[in-house]
């Protein structure tokens, strides 16, 4: 009995098996195992201890601060993303490529440097430090600094999602609406927004995940004041360095759940609205 010949562009079955095992093994070892670790450590003393660690006042304060910072940073970046992609995709002007490169800039800056730049402006020895002190305004080691650092690290997410999408969609529909006498706002709300809603949601999803999980940048500007300026990731660090491992992993498991929900929604959007999200997804 001879098996049908293998197609010339197919790998040898043995190669397929070996490569599949290597790929699955690598993902298992480097990605799945750490994720499993988070939940197994969080639950290592039973669910009661885990829940108690999450309901502890400092942990709750950290959850509130994380939600608050994201609730300010994400909508502002969404507004920016819409505005930037409207300017860039609906009009022709010089320096467009350069502007797009500048928008992507925060992605290539180290998180620690992203925090440092605000300390250099608003810190005690920063440009505006003395003035702010006179007026008794706190930016660094307070909510404004945390929000600014979060805004910086999540700055490009929504814009870079919308720019390729709106470039693909062109301008004909909007131009038709405008020529029929629709106002700019009406054109945007009735034509553009329905066209970009899934892409916008996709960008907001990724932006929010990073905003709630940001560690390095926020760490520089927060001052680590327990119950006051610790976000969830910072609270995880404080507990871990205090050898309160169950507590650290309990709060970490909330963040891991957020990551899982984000990935699930992201995959869902990619499968169901592939055409309505941008063509290319590189991050």
């Amino acid at each position: 009995m001879k098996k049908p010949p293998r197609r010339s562009t197919e790998d040898h079955p043995l190669v397929r098996v070996v490569l599949s095992i290597v790929a699955i093994g690598f993902i298992g070892l480097f990605l799945v195992l750490p994720l499993t670790m988070v939940f197994s450590q969080a639950l290592s003393r039973g669910l009661g201890v885990t829940l108690a660690a999450i309901e502890e006042p400092d942990a709750l304060a950290a959850v509130r601060l994380t939600l608050l910072a994201a609730a300010i940073a994400v909508p502002l970046n969404a507004l920016f993303g819409i505005s930037a992609s409207w300017a860039i995709t609906k009009f022709d002007f010089r320096g467009k490529g350069f502007l797009t490169t500048l928008i992507d800039l925060p992605f290539s800056v180290s998180p620690v440097v992203s925090g440092l730049i605000y300390v250099l402006i608003f810190g005690l020895q920063g440009w505006l430090g003395p003035t702010l002190r006179e007026w008794d305004i706190k930016v660094i080691f307070a909510l404004p600094g945390i929000v600014l650092a979060t805004m910086f690290v999540t700055f490009p997410f929504i814009a870079r999602e919308l720019i390729p999408l709106m470039t693909d969609q062109g301008r004909e529909e909007e131009e038709a609406a405008a020529s029929l006498g629709a106002s700019g706002l009406r054109t945007f709300l009735r034509i553009t927004l329905p066209n970009i809603k899934w892409g916008l949601l996709y960008g907001v999803l990724l932006c929010n995940a990073r905003a709630m999980g940001e560690f390095g940048a926020v760490s520089v500007v927060s001052g680590h004041i327990r119950g006051l300026t610790n976000t969830m990731p910072l609270h995880v660090e404080v507990l871990y360095n205090d050898y309160q491992f169950v507590g650290a992993f309990a709060v970490a498991s909330l963040l891991a759940l957020l990551a899982i929900v984000t990935l699930t929604l992201k995959s869902f959007l990619e499968w169901h609205f592939a055409e309505e999200i941008a063509a290319a997804h590189h991050h």
């Binding site: 290539s108 998180p111 440092l116």
Partner: protein
């Protein structure tokens, strides 16, 4: 005067039937300047308060040099590991069919979605002397947590999706015509892969690995827990920035920051050149 500005503006921008340019462009420029450009300028200016000699002295410091070497060296090794395994993962995800493939595909983005501090404590516990992986590895004489090797492990974790996600669309678009032609002409499968497939993938493989490298150089959260942070041994450059800040050495912190920023700019430029070069060759 107004006419001159208007003609300049007309020259700079093509007329459009759509409204809202001034508003959207103005807000974009304002927001970009306030959040990104002005703060980055503050960073670039700061270390020069010490003069060129002072700037140089900070960077020539033994501890700073060791930290920079670890951040850049560790990132390079991790990018190399990711180039190899990322290529295999992308190949398997695009070319093979097997149950659970979608789940595996979604999992690749985990390092983007999982907060770095969470990854950091998980990896640290996993590779600690009595951890799930640390214990068997230490019996083999390999110490991972609290060594430079731990830094490489964390940076590999953080960089994987960059390589896979850059390769996947290129691999999907790669029609199998060329491979078929090579096979018809008598090439073995290995020859086809090495001579036909790999050269086509090289630009995206380099791009993906460079993105992974750029991300890893500046990475902080996932590294500091597993690294142990021993000065001159397992202390990364971003951590040294924080240490200098805590000592109110703003200029010293900025000097290291400027070096890292410069490295990122050079990498962006190199990637743009690579894209331009491969684009114009096609």
């Amino acid at each position: 005067m107004t006419a001159a500005i208007a003609s300049l503006a007309a020259h700079w921008r093509n007329p459009s039937a759509l409204p809202g340019f001034a508003l959207s462009f103005g807000f974009t420029l304002f927001y970009l300047s306030a959040i990104v450009l002005i703060p980055l300028t503050a960073l670039v200016i700061r270390p020069w308060s010490l003069g060129f000699a002072g700037f140089w002295q900070i960077l020539a410091d033994h501890r700073v040099l060791a930290a920079l070497r670890l951040s850049f060296g560790g990132a390079a090794i991790a990018a190399g590991i990711n180039a190899v395994f990322g290529l295999i993962v992308a190949w398997v995800l695009v070319r093979y069919r097997f149950p659970g493939k979608r789940l595996l595909d979604a999992l690749v983005d985990l390092p983007f979605a999982l907060p770095t501090a969470v990854a950091g404590i998980a990896l640290s516990t996993l590779y600690a002397p009595h951890g799930w992986l640390g214990e068997p590895l230490s019996e083999l004489g390999l110490k991972v947590s609290y060594t430079p090797l731990g830094v490489v492990v964390a940076l590999t974790f953080i960089g994987l999706p960059f390589v896979v996600r850059t390769l996947q669309p290129v691999l999907s678009d790669l029609t199998q015509d060329a491979e078929e032609a090579a096979a018809t002409l008598g090439a073995t499968r290995l020859q086809t892969v090495v001579r036909v497939v790999l050269p086509t993938l090289t630009p995206s493989l380099v791009t993906g690995a460079t993105l992974a490298f750029a991300r890893a150089v500046g990475e902080y959260g996932s590294v500091i827990f597993i690294a142990g942070n021993l000065p001159t041994v397992s202390e990364i450059a971003p951590l040294l920035i924080i240490i200098k800040l805590e000592q109110y050495d703003y200029a010293g912190a900025s000097a290291i920051g400027v070096i890292m920023l410069t490295a990122s700019f050079v990498l962006i430029l190199a990637l743009n050149l690579l894209q331009y070069w491969t684009g114009s060759r096609r």
